[in-house]
């Protein structure tokens, strides 16, 4: 039944793409609707949280703590081998929790290029990370200087730089994998409730709660807008017209979604919400949690040992 649900919701987004007879791929609207469905499925995929699986059988509070520890270990380790191991662990956990691997991997890596481009890429060059040259990009007869900054006589990619950058990227990818796994395998509402069990301030949970509704409304708005446009367009439309439409709609979208999220907040308030998260189900610790905690303790112990041995 849950699978049916997922199908209808993806079908819904499929219909947002432009009709097949259009030759030229409509980049902006295409990207917009892809982004919408990606977000919708990542953040709102309570779908996976309801499936019977490994992570789903563990108490959300236990998950919050153990994933926090896993992410901490990920950001502290200095060895790419350990990161690789942790990344594989996240993949194994995903598949044991019946989260499709392709979907999971894509969700994580979709954000990495942006990150890598901005932060990690410059680090491979000798300007930032001096070291053993792997590849010379450019060399100058006379050392250049811009103001007080002196460029070396050649620009090259260094071994140390490469290692540093890949360490950085794999660290981010692995942390992101754990974070996304936690959300997917728990579900947003449960996660919020688990956070409040740790005395996370109510205001914080309130903001998170509203953000969730906001994104959700925003996505539905985008979806309806694209559908509305599609229904009004017959055949081809000019690029110019399309761009005008998009920029016009974007402003409308922001204003409208702000308005709606405010309304949603009022609607929640009206029915007695005061920032406390209540749920029909209660959390309970069980044997699974004990097993899970000992497993994660084992992982952490192993990471620490390796870290000490390979120092």
């Amino acid at each position: 039944m849950l699978d049916d649900y997922s199908k209808t919701s993806t079908d819904l987004f499929e219909t947002l793409h432009y009709p097949k007879f259009r030759r030229r791929k409509d980049f902006v609207t295409g990207t917009l609707s892809n982004l919408t469905s990606a977000l919708e499925r990542t953040v709102f995929a309570d779908l996976y949280a309801e499936r019977p699986g490994l992570l789903q059988s563990i108490d959300p509070r236990t998950k919050v703590i153990t994933f926090f520890i896993l992410i901490l270990a990920t950001s502290l380790t200095h060895h790419i081998e350990i990161l690789l191991g942790l990344y594989l662990l996240s993949l194994a956990l995903a598949s044991l929790s019946r989260i499709p691997l392709g979907f999971f991997i894509k969700r994580v890596w979709i954000f990495i290029p942006i990150f890598a481009g901005i932060i990690a890429l410059p680090a491979i060059f000798n300007i930032i990370t001096p070291g053993d040259t792997v590849l010379v990009i450019a060399s100058f007869k006379h050392p250049h200087g811009i103001g007080i900054m002196h460029l070396p006589s050649e620009i090259s990619i260094t071994k140390q730089g490469l290692i540093g950058a890949s360490l950085l990227v794999s660290r981010v990818a692995t942390s992101a994998s754990f974070a996304i796994l936690l959300i997917l395998g728990t579900g947003w509402t449960r996660l919020l409730k688990a956070l409040s069990a740790f005395r996370v301030p109510r205001v914080f949970i309130l903001i998170l709660g509203i953000t969730y509704k906001y994104i959700f409304l925003f996505l539905r708005l985008v979806e309806n807008m694209l559908l509305a446009r599609k229904s009004r367009t017959v055949g081809r439309t000019g690029t110019k017209e399309k761009h005008r439409w998009i920029s016009g709609r974007l402003g409308f979208l922001l204003g409208r979604s702000y308005h709606l999220s405010n309304e949603v907040y009022l609607a929640m308030l009206s029915r007695g919400w005061n920032g406390k998260v209540h749920m029909l189900e209660d959390f309970s610790l069980g044997l699974n949690d004990a097993l899970w905690i000992s497993f994660i303790s084992g992982v952490i112990l192993l990471v620490t040992l390796l870290e000490l041995v390979w120092r």
């Binding site: 039944m1 649900y5 209808t8 709102f44 309570d46 579900g187 509402t189 509704k213 959700f216 409304l217 539905r220 709606l260 309304e263 949603v264 009022l266 609607a267 929640m268 308030l269 009206s270 029915r271 007695g272 919400w273 005061n274 406390k276 209540h278 749920m279 029909l280 209660d282």
Partner: protein
């Protein structure tokens, strides 16, 4: 004769949205327990704003709103015990069901209010099931609210109020966008609520429906003030006002 305090007492209430957009001016209105009142007026006359003020979501820029004899102010509603009793007594059906339905499943949606009221699980489930049955939407229990049809959404929104079981129902266009049969069904449902002694304030465009439910009708004009009030019979006599305010077509 029993004398009871008014449910709502509005005294010269004025409200402007940020940016100075006027929405309500000089509103005087009293609602007694068990009364059904219709608020009518053209688009933008301020009906929704009025209901939000009565639900303590907005606060008057000027004038006073009293609910159950206590002034509704931001300060007052920040007090948890007051907010709790007020929210328990008063429910608002939003005009746009999409903003009202924010949970992932219909079940969670209907359980939202009773859970916030701190009821235990059995009590919550009893109420949820009763509400779903009353609106004949048991089958929708596990569906996501945003996937439903307009009529189904309206029913879920109603159920999410019914599970709270408020004494006072503020209803913002409960029959808008529905087919005639569903409209009739909703009207029937509202009449049973009225028979149970619930107080109702309904914003509505349809004169026939207002007549069949309300004992008193208020008409908000384009100037955001009350331009007419009275029993349905009185109101039907004010043809000019009705035509001027888009509530009746020229014949």
């Amino acid at each position: 004769m029993e004398i009871s305090a008014p449910v709502f007492e509005l005294n010269n209430v004025e409200y402007s949205y940020p940016g100075g957009i006027p929405a309500l001016k000089g509103i005087d209105l009293t609602v007694m327990p068990g009364e059904s009142i219709a608020v009518m007026g053209t688009n933008g006359s301020g009906k929704s704003t009025l209901l939000k003020l009565m639900d303590g979501l907005y606060f008057p820029s000027r004038g006073v709103i009293k609910a159950f004899g206590v002034e509704l102010s931001e300060r007052q509603l920040q007090e948890e015990s007051f907010a709790y009793t007020f929210r328990k007594k008063v429910g608002l059906l939003f005009q746009d069901p999409d903003v009202q339905l924010f949970s992932t499943t219909v079940l969670d949606e209907v359980a939202f209010a009773p859970l916030n009221m701190g009821l235990n699980r059995e009590e919550v489930m009893t109420r949820v099931n009763a509400a779903l049955t009353a609106l004949k939407i048991e089958d929708l229990k596990d569906r996501a609210p945003y996937q439903l049809s307009e009529g189904e959404k309206k029913k879920v929104a109603m159920a999410s109020l019914l599970s709270l079981d408020p004494k006072v129902w503020l209803l913002d266009e409960p029959t808008a966008n529905l087919d005639p049969r569903t409209q009739d069904w909703i009207i029937e449902f509202l009449l049973t609520l009225a028979n149970k002694g619930k107080t109702m304030i309904i914003a509505i465009h349809d004169l026939d429906i207002a007549e069949s439910i309300a004992q008193r009708i208020y008409i908000l004009g384009e100037n955001h003030a009350i331009v007419a009030q009275g029993t349905p019979r009185d109101i039907l006599g004010y043809r000019d006002i009705l035509i001027r305010n888009n509530l009746l077509r020229h014949k």
